[in-house]
């Protein structure tokens, strides 16, 4: 042995340590990857050795390689080994590696539960500390559930070092296991007043994080925080608290009023900029919440703005940045106070620092008015030209569009100017926001009817210019603009000056280099254009010209037919056939233009983006019920739906209405109304006063808003937006002059009035026909479905992880709410299974199965609902039970240090080794149903076990009236509801729809546990399907093994040694040959199936311990030889030991 040790350490001299590895990598700059792969091979060798120091060294090196981007998850098991080393040095290495590479998906993570629990209760505070730190990085929901109670105990540890870590990690536990929040909260609150500032700071930290997500639940803590704020001197704590108040004030304005004074004092007194800044921020939040705008608060606003101005003017860029950031918050509610500092902000636009420019841009958004919009955008355009980095330029671009389009184009007085700005923006190479520009072009062209003519002329120029086609390499690049241009030219082709030329432009061969979706729009709109040209030519009687156009189409379209894009190809070949048909008709001199145009008849209305979502669900329609059988595996669904709706936008392109006269419109409207009245499926709009426009279903009644424009419409070629600025100035000047002159004229006054109201939606106009000589611009509002409910709730994300933490913390704790103390999953004492439905719902979620995913989700939702709207009777129900059975358990939180010494029991299910094992084994199965079961025992109930049976419906029938009955033996009896005889069955408290599984629990009482038992039983049920119902039966034999009576109980080696020395244990042993499994897995298997825990492990020898529910101690010594395993057992009952070893032999024989 000694020789081996020496040899080992000599070997180790030549192992690389971390420093050698780093040095090696630095010396192999040319073939780094090769060198590292060589090192990884070495590490793999080292990991195979038994010496823990070698392993730790290897894991340490792996951690370094992880930083360089190498996946080290393959070594997860070795990392766990190093974590469980007894020396702190190694343990720390293990936990560090684990914290870097473990995550929710690491399968071996469940093996760590017991190790971590042991470390948490270690007498050395640094072992505990290192475990807490590691756990904070890789805690999973299972770990959180199993360890929550241990961590909560640590929150009252004697050492502040541990306390603060325990407090901090609770936040992670809450996130992963939200049920722990309520039970743990009182203690967390306690820690706010901990004597140690570090612990206090940690508690503030955690509560601030929690409150940030669900502030309303923490309002009741405000007085406590208020006290802390006035007495704390720790700036970290102060900042956190002040930030927290910022989140709370919007919910409680009274709090805000109270805060103003101390905060103002702090602002005046503190010398720490960070604190000053946060104070200003919170004052702003307070002022926003007190939106009533009381006069005495204007002083506070002034103070804030002043302080911020000082920050912005500071030479320190960081302060400048933050000043601008805070300024933008004030802007939202008090734009006037900020607008006074416009000079400063415009100055910041020229700053050399990009972050500062971006912040200044944000502020600009709120500073524009009708008066200065053109000027500001002009300034931004010059920045666009100067900006070299694309990110900043893109940011500028989006800002320009944001600024212009804000509140329904509120500040735009001249849309021609806006269109030309958009066109100018298309000259940006390499931007990623082509799509944004395109969307704006479409929006403006569709909704501002008066601008269409101008827009079309600009768009046709864009199509013609070709520079965009050349830059078509990037998806969503600037070429996206062509999508809009093509569509606008096609849709509003009647406005085109030279449709023929545009048609030519759209049929150029280069177009085929564009992305598919743009080509598709090209193809579709070429036809629209073609139809309109044809109509023109035919009306003018130029049949030859018409045929020429057709010829051009027939010649050029084939290039699209060959497209690799399915959509383009399909459209093109369809259209090509159509055009060929037209050609034939033309040859016979049949007029076709009218019919062709009819293809695109119909007016297009803009539909609000949320319109679809707002369609109310009709009464009596339940969207949650299945129409057909639920699909067994729904994974591919998502992808499918995506492809169906991908090209949704292009649906716009289908309807068009050429000029229709008033009479025709009226006729159609009438017809439509008639049709709707007769159609039982049409949801009639109920006349609602707040949505006036719903009364009129016709397009013509969409309210339009008018803007007077006196600018001549036609600007030849691609204009520069600058000229509009000049024109606008002139126009305004003129207006002013006119106003001055004609001040007294009544008519003018009316017009002025009109001008003031011009954006209000409630001004519907009769029709667009009465366009006055002064140009009118109509902004068509977006359509919403009838009965749509105005609401904002649709931006909430249902998958928000913080949502689960939204619980009422002030409600007193119910008895049922406590952290799971390490116990074997067990049922309540002496209660009949049918009363179990409530805990069942909770327990079930442990065993996720794909098939029942849907079912489970709904179940969860139901659970949540129950939590949210606490159903009275449920709580009472729980209390009843708790009162009956939990007398013993009420004090299950042992005092801090006592736990470290005493044995801790642990859940057996966590000991799963790499090949996942299930403790559930098959009970019986037939065509209808499959039953798997597991037996759980608990130390608290010495003559009772709980049998959990998972019933899975395998048929397409609906299973109900399930009843389970067993033939009791003298020793083992099933607990039945009071008043029923021993021959009665126990009903299963649920029904099973097809494909669904659920778990039922039954309690059995046992007298002697030293022998295994088999009970015969029957499950009877009614299977109901389309043909009818049949009565069915399934027989089974329930096997109570001796291992089932054991409960995993950790034992420390000294206690274990004493036990063995005591001498009142009888001994027996077995030996199994032909074992190939690794020792670690072998132990894991014994732990898992026979509920043992490892006391100590030395190389290939381990001592294990377990305890029966009736208090028998069972000690094992497991030794692994070459291909065999020997197990020596000692137990206070020889029969039990014999039976246990027999069972173990069966398990081991399978290894």
């Amino acid at each position: 042995m000694a020789l081996k040790m020496v040899k080992g350490s000599i070997d180790r001299m030549f192992d690389k340590n971390l420093q050698d590895l780093v040095r090696g990598i630095r010396n192999h700059k040319e073939d780094e990857a090769k060198y590292i792969s060589q090192c990884i091979d070495e590490i793999k060798q080292e990991l195979k050795q038994d010496n823990i120091a070698v392993k730790a060294n290897a894991v340490c090196k792996l951690t370094y390689l992880q930083m360089l981007g190498y996946d080290i998850s393959w070594a997860a098991f070795n990392i766990i080994e190093v974590m469980s080393a007894s020396k702190f040095t190694f343990k720390r290495i293990g936990y560090l590696a684990a914290s870097q590479c473990f995550h929710e998906g690491t399968d071996v993570i469940m093996l760590t539960t017991n190790q971590i629990r042991k470390d948490l209760s270690s007498p050395s505070q640094y072992d505990t500390g290192v475990a807490l730190t590691g756990l904070s990085c890789f805690v999973t929901s299972d770990l959180a559930r199993d360890l929550a109670n241990d961590i909560m105990t640590l929150m009252s540890h004697t050492k502040p070092y541990i306390r603060k870590k325990a407090v901090l990690i609770m936040y992670k536990v809450f996130l992963k296991y939200p049920e722990s929040l309520r039970p743990a909260f009182p203690r967390l609150k306690e820690k706010l007043e901990d004597p140690d500032p570090g612990v206090q700071s940690a508690a503030v930290n955690v509560i601030c994080e929690l409150a940030r997500r669900n502030p309303k639940n923490y309002l009741s803590l405000a007085p406590l925080f208020f006290k802390l704020m006035t007495c704390s001197t720790n700036n970290w704590v102060l900042i956190k608290i002040i930030k927290l108040f910022g989140a709370l004030t919007p919910l409680e304005p009274r709090l805000g009023k109270k805060l103003i004074e101390p905060l103002t004092n702090l602002i005046h007194s503190t010398s720490a900029m960070s604190l000053l800044y946060e104070c200003v921020n919170t004052v702003i939040a307070v002022l926003i919440s007190l939106s009533s705008g009381m006069p005495n608060h204007s002083a506070s606003i002034q103070l804030c703005v002043q302080k911020l101005r000082i920050l912005i003017e500071d030479s320190d860029q960081n302060l400048k940045y933050l000043g601008l950031l805070a300024m933008s918050k004030i802007l939202r509610t008090h734009p006037k106070s900020v607008q006074a500092h416009k000079d400063l902000i415009l100055q910041c636009l020229d700053d050399k620092d990009e972050s500062i420019r971006l912040r200044a841009l944000d502020l600009l958004y709120g500073m524009v008015s009708k008066k200065n919009l053109m000027e500001i955008v002009k300034k931004l355009m010059t920045h666009v030209d100067k900006a070299e980095g694309t990110t900043y330029r893109d940011e500028l671009l989006t800002k320009i569009i944001d600024i212009c389009s804000q509140s329904n184009y509120q500040y735009i007085t001249n849309f021609e100017w806006y269109i030309s700005i958009l066109v100018e923006l298309t000259r940006l190479e390499g931007t990623r926001h082509g799509h944004l520009i395109a969307a704006q072009m479409l929006d403006v062209a569709i909704r501002v009817k008066a601008i269409r003519k101008f827009a079309v002329s600009q768009m046709s120029a864009l199509l013609d210019s070709g520079h965009l086609v050349a830059s078509s390499t990037q998806r969503n690049g600037i070429c996206e603009v062509l999508y809009a241009a093509a569509w606008i030219c096609g849709e509003f082709s009647e406005h085109l000056q030279e449709p023929h030329q545009t048609l030519e432009a759209m049929l150029r061969p280069k177009v085929t280099t564009l992305p598919g979706h743009i080509q598709a729009v090209y193809v579709q709109n070429v036809v629209k254009l073609y139809a309109s040209i044809l109509l023109q030519k035919e009306q003018a009687g130029e049949t030859e010209a018409a045929q020429e156009v057709t010829q051009v189409m027939v010649e050029r379209l084939p290039q699209f037919v060959q497209s690799a894009d399915l959509e383009v190809q399909e459209r093109a070949s369809c259209i090509l056939q159509l055009v060929k048909h037209v050609q034939k008709l033309q040859a016979k001199a049949v007029p076709v233009a009218e019919e062709l145009s009819a293809l695109f008849a119909g007016e297009l209305n803009p539909v609000a983006p949320k319109a679809q979502k707002k369609v109310p669900v009709p009464e009596g329609l339940d969207l949650d019920t299945w129409i057909n059988e639920p699909p067994s595996d729904s994974e591919s669904e998502d992808e499918k739906s995506k492809t169906i709706f991908r090209e949704e936008e292009q649906k716009h392109t289908q309807h068009r209405q050429p000029e229709v006269d008033e009479a025709e419109l009226a006729r159609r409207r009438e017809a439509r109304k008639q049709e709707q009245a007769n159609n039982p499926f049409y949801i009639k709009s109920s006349p609602s006063p707040q949505k006036r426009y719903q009364d009129a279903p016709g397009v013509e009644h969409i309210p339009v808003v008018q803007i007077d424009l006196s600018v001549p419409l036609k600007v030849p070629g691609l204009p520069t937006s600058d000229q509009y600025v000049k024109l606008e100035e002139e126009r305004r000047h003129q207006q002013r002059l006119e106003k001055d002159k004609k001040k007294k004229r009544k008519r003018e006054r009316e017009r002025e009035k009109k001008g003031k109201h011009r954006r209000q939606r409630s001004l519907p106009t009769e029709s667009e026909e009465d366009i006055a000589p002064a140009q009118q611009v109509d902004i068509v509002t977006e359509e919403m479905p009838e009965n749509a409910l105005p609401s904002d709730e649709d931006d909430k994300d249902p998958n928000d992880p913080y949502r689960a933490l939204d619980v009422d913390l002030d409600r007193p704790l119910a008895d049922s709410e406590k952290l799971p103390v390490q116990k074997h999953r067990n049922a309540e004492t002496s209660k009949s299974p049918q009363k179990e439905d409530v805990p069942l719902v909770e327990k079930k979620s442990k065993k996720p199965k794909k098939k029942e995913k849907k079912h489970r989700e709904r179940e969860k939702e139901r659970e949540k609902e129950e939590q949210r709207k606490p159903s009275r009777h449920k709580k009472q129900h729980r209390k009843e039970k708790a009162g009956r059975s939990k007398g013993k358990k009420a004090k299950q939180q042992p005092p801090t240090c006592a736990e470290a010494a005493g044995p801790v029991e642990n859940g057996a299910a966590e000991e799963e080794p790499l090949p996942p094992m299930s403790s559930y084994c098959l009970l019986a199965e037939n065509a209808y149903i499959k039953m798997t079961y597991d037996i759980q025992a608990s130390l608290q109930k010495e003559s009772q076990v709980t049998v959990s049976i998972i019933l899975e419906n395998q048929s397409s029938s609906f299973l109900k009236n399930m009843e389970l009955n067993v033939l009791d033996s003298l020793n083992t009896k099933m607990a039945r509801p009071e008043g029923s005889s021993v021959h009665d069955g126990v009903p299963v408290p649920f029904q099973l729809p097809p494909g669904v599984s659920n778990e039922a629990q039954f309690v059995f009482t046992i007298q002697s546990i030293v022998m295994a038992q088999k009970l015969k039983g029957t499950l009877s049920f009614i299977a109901k399907d389309a043909e009818g119902a049949t009565h069915e039966k399934l027989d089974f034999r329930l096997h109570f093994s001796c291992s089932a009576y054991l409960v995993t109980t950790p034992c420390y080696s000294d206690a274990f040694a004493k036990l063995l020395e005591s001498g009142d244990l009888s001994m027996s042993s077995i030996k199994v040959d032909g074992i190939s499994m690794s020792f670690q897995n072998l132990l894991a298997k014994i732990c898992f199936h026979h509920h043992f825990s490892v006391v100590e492990r030395v190389d290939s020898c381990a001592s294990m311990y377990s305890r029966s529910i009736q208090g028998h101690h069972v000690c094992l010594l497991v030794k692994k030889g070459e291909k065999s395993v020997s197990v020596d057992g000692k137990c206070s009952d020889s029969t039990l030991l014999g039976n246990l070893l027999e069972e173990m032999q069966v398990t081991l024989a399978q290894c």
Partner: protein, 193 residues
């Protein structure tokens, strides 16, 4: 919450990578690279905040960084953290490194990545600030070092001797980035107790 802490040198070589949210290794490397390119083009005299954008988490997150001689220290934090506070925390972290390594330089970080992690663990835990008091941090680290020493450390004596022999081969490397002359001017920040 702090989402990630990255330390890399002027050439983008990672020296410490600590994510508090799971990212696969390739993504981690990508984030390090992109972050490096973001901070690299920034002069030393412009502000130390920048919007991380698409890198981690989205618009709620910010990158707060400091540049010391050859090293960038970058913290990615969400809006619950005070920007100036984090800047100060970086200073605390670096000063702690300086104390623990006695005139810290990039080489210390290169060869003792594990130790740097242990120091960081006393400052930030699971993405939340654990301790801001430097004396407390240093005291805890020293206590743990003593504990490690009493256990004999990772490399026993013979291995250390070999290591000394190996050290002869050490390539020419820049020595000592002294903290004193790298101090970035931070206004009134060291108010934290």
């Amino acid at each position: 919450m702090i989402q990630a802490i990255l330390v890399f040198n002027n050439h983008g070589k990672p020296r410490l990578v600590r994510f508090y949210q799971r990212f696969p290794e390739e993504i981690q490397q990508q984030i390090v690279r992109e972050t490096f390119h973001l901070v690299l083009k920034r002069d030393d005299n412009i502000c130390n905040f920048l919007e991380g954008g698409s890198l981690i988490g989205g618009s709620d997150y910010k990158l707060i960084y400091r540049h010391y001689a050859t090293l960038y220290f970058v913290f990615c934090v969400d809006s619950s953290e005070s920007e100036l506070g984090i800047l100060d925390l970086i200073q605390v972290f670096v000063e702690t490194l300086d104390k623990c390594f006695e005139n810290v330089c990039e080489l210390d970080l290169i060869f003792h990545m594990d130790k740097v992690h242990y120091i960081l663990q006393e400052v930030v835990m699971g993405g939340m600030v654990l301790e801001t008091n430097m004396n407390e941090i240093v005291a805890q680290i020293e206590a743990q070092n003593r504990l490690e020493k009493s256990e004999g450390g990772l490399s026993a004596a013979p291995a250390r001797a070999v290591s000394a022999v190996k050290n002869i081969n050490l390539p020419e490397i820049p020595r000592n980035i002294n903290l004193g002359d790298l101090n970035i001017k931070v206004p009134n920040l060291s108010q934290f107790v």
